[in-house]
Amino acid sequence: MSDAVTLDGLRAWVSEFARLIEENRSYLTDLDSAIGDADHGTNMARGMAAAAPIASDSPPPGTAAIGTAKELFTQVGMKLVSTVGGASGPLYGTFFLRVGAALGDSDTFTPVEFAAALRAGMAGVVARGKAEPGDKTMLDTLEPALDALDASLAAGNSLADALADATKAADAGRDSTTPMLARKGRASYLGERSVGHQDPGSTSSALLISAAATALG
C-alpha cells in the first residue's frame, strides 16, 4: 500500500515538472531554435510558472478547492491552455485535463489507475494533435514511456521501479527523435533538414515522466 498515488504526490509531480521546465528553459528554447521558432522553453516555463501554484500548499486566490485529482488537473490543464499558447499549450493542457478526467473524483490511486490515466492523457494529445509515434513529437517520448510503465507494473514491479523504467524509455524515446524526419508541427516545414535535431516537445515530455518518477517513485 506504500505504492498508493496520493493527491499530495500528484501535486508534487506538477511542482517537480515546473521546476525541471524552468531549469531546462533555455535548453528547450535552443532545441526549438534549430527546428522551430525558439519559444518552446519560454512557452512551457510561462505555463508551468502559472500552473505550479495551483498544485502548491497554498494555491493562489481564485483557485477552486482541490480535494480530488480531477479538481487538481482540471485547473492545471485549463491554466496551461490559457497561458502557454502555441502547439504545446493545447497539447499539454489536454493531457492534464484528460488525466484528471480519468482519475476522477478521488484522491488516492493505485499505480495501475495512475498509468491508465497517463494513457488517457496521451490519447488526448493524439486526439488534439493527430500525430503518430515516429512523427518527431512529444508522442515519441510518451508512448514508449507509458508502454514501459505498463509492462513494468504488469511484471509486478513497484511504482518506483516502474517509473524508473518509464523514465529510461522516455529518455530513449526522446533521443530517438534526433534521426527522425518531422511530419507534424513546425519542424515538418524543414523536411530533410529536420533530421539530426532532437525534438523540443519530446524533450519536455521526458521531463514530465522524470518528474513523475521523482515525485511518485
Binding site: V84, G89, R186, L190
Partner: protein, 333 residues
C-alpha cells in the same frame, strides 16, 4: 540582442499599450490582449477575428478597423494566442450574423482556434466558421505533414473578406470568399538574416555573411535550403518560379502582386524586388491588376522578403478596392 524594448517578457503588453495610445479609434483589451474595432459589434455584420503570435506587425492588430478585422488576438512572440482570447473576442464581435475565424495554418494556431470554437459552441451556440490560410509553397503539402504555412495571403484575405463582411454578406458567403482567396493565392519567402526572439536573446539561426535562406516562414524557422546570396533578379526568380510551378499563371490571368518585407529590409530594396517580380510576370503575360509593397507580415527584425501572388477575378478585385481604414491598410476613406 539589440532591440528597442524593456523586459523581453513585456514586449507584447507594452506594444499593445503603444498601439492603444497611437490609435484611439481602436479599443484594446489589455487583460486579454485583444485589439478591437471601436464600433464592434456591428449589428447584422459578420464578425471577423484573427490572431496569432506577435512579431508579425502590422499583422494582425494593424488590420483591425472598418473593412477588415473586428478583432485581433495577440499571442506572445511567435506563439499562437490561447483559446480564452479567441473565445472572448468571438463573443464580443458577434453582431448576430456569426463570426469568422481567420487562422494561419500552424499546428498551434489551428489547435488553439479549434479549442476556442469548441468552447464558443458549448458556451454560446454562436455560429463560428474557421478559414485556414495555407499559401506557403516552400512547404510540401501532404496529408503526412502539418501542411503549408499561412503567410502573405492572410493579409490579402483579411482585406477581401473584411470588405465582403462590410457589404453585408452572410457568414457562409464571407467564408466562401475567404476560402476562394486562399485557394487562389501562393507565397514564398526568403531571409538574409535571422530574427531574434526577445525571450531567447539570440538569433534563431546562424546565417553566414554570404548565404541566405530560401523558403523561410515568418517565425525565424530555417528555410528549405541555404544558398549563396544572389542578386535581386535571381532572388525574385527563386521566389516566383516555385509559385508558378504550383499555380500556373499566364496570359489572361489577373493578379494582385504583393512584395512583403520581413521587418528588417527597407522599402528601397522591396521596390527593387518588386521590379524584378513584375518583370517575370509581365514576361509571362500576366496582368498585375493591383500591387502591395511593404512590410505587412513580418518576422521581427529579420531581413528578407516574401512574394505573394493572388489570382483575382472582378468581384475579388472590387472587394480589394473597397474602402478600408486600419492602421496598416487604408484607402477610400
Amino acid at each position: 540582442m539589440k532591440k528597442l524594448i524593456n523586459d523581453p517578457a513585456d514586449v507584447v503588453k507594452e506594444a499593445l499599450l503603444g498601439i492603444a495610445a497611437a490609435h484611439p479609434e481602436l479599443r484594446v483589451d489589455h487583460a486579454n490582449k485583444i485589439i478591437y474595432r471601436g464600433d464592434t459589434p456591428k449589428k447584422g455584420k459578420v464578425g471577423l477575428i484573427s490572431g496569432g503570435g506577435s512579431g508579425h506587425e502590422p499583422l494582425h492588430g494593424g488590420f483591425v478597423g472598418f473593412g477588415m478585422l473586428d478583432a485581433a488576438c495577440a499571442g506572445e512572440i511567435f506563439t499562437s494566442p490561447v483559446p480564452d482570447q479567441m473565445l472572448e473576442a468571438t463573443k464580443h464581435v458577434d453582431g448576430g450574423a456569426g463570426v469568422l475565424h481567420i487562422v494561419k495554418n500552424y499546428t498551434g494556431d489551428v489547435m488553439n482556434f479549434e479549442m476556442a470554437a469548441e468552447m464558443a459552441a458549448a458556451e454560446t451556440g454562436l455560429d463560428v466558421i474557421a478559414v485556414v490560410t495555407d499559401d506557403d509553397v516552400a512547404v510540401q503539402d501532404s496529408t503526412w505533414t502539418a501542411g503549408r504555412r499561412g503567410v502573405g495571403v492572410t493579409v490579402l484575405l483579411e482585406k477581401i473578406a473584411g470588405a465582403a463582411a462590410e457589404q453585408g454578406l452572410s457568414l457562409k458567403e464571407v467564408a466562401d470568399v475567404a476560402r476562394h482567396v486562399n485557394e487562389n493565392g501562393r507565397s514564398m519567402g526568403m531571409a538574409l538574416t535571422s530574427c531574434i526572439v526577445p525571450a531567447a536573446g539570440k538569433p534563431t539561426f546562424d546565417l553566414p555573411d554570404n548565404e541566405m535562406e530560401i523558403g523561410v516562414g515568418i517565425h525565424g524557422e530555417p528555410g528549405r535550403r541555404r544558398v549563396p546570396i544572389a542578386p535581386a533578379k535571381e532572388v525574385a526568380a527563386m521566389l516566383v518560379e516555385p509559385i508558378l510551378e504550383d499555380m500556373p499563371l499566364g496570359r489572361g490571368d489577373s493578379i494582385i502582386a504583393f512584395v512583403n518585407g520581413m521587418g528588417g529590409t527597407p522599402l528601397i530594396e522591396l521596390y527593387v524586388m518588386y521590379n524584378e517580380v513584375a518583370k517575370i510576370l509581365q514576361g509571362r503575360g500576366v496582368t498585375i491588376a493591383r500591387s502591395l509593397v511593404g512590410p505587412y507580415i513580418t518576422s521581427l527584425e529579420m531581413a528578407g522578403c516574401s512574394v505573394t501572388l493572388l489570382k483575382v477575378d472582378d468581384p475579388t478585385l472590387a472587394l480589394w478596392d473597397a474602402p478600408v481604414s486600419t492602421p496598416g491598410l487604408r484607402w477610400g476613406m
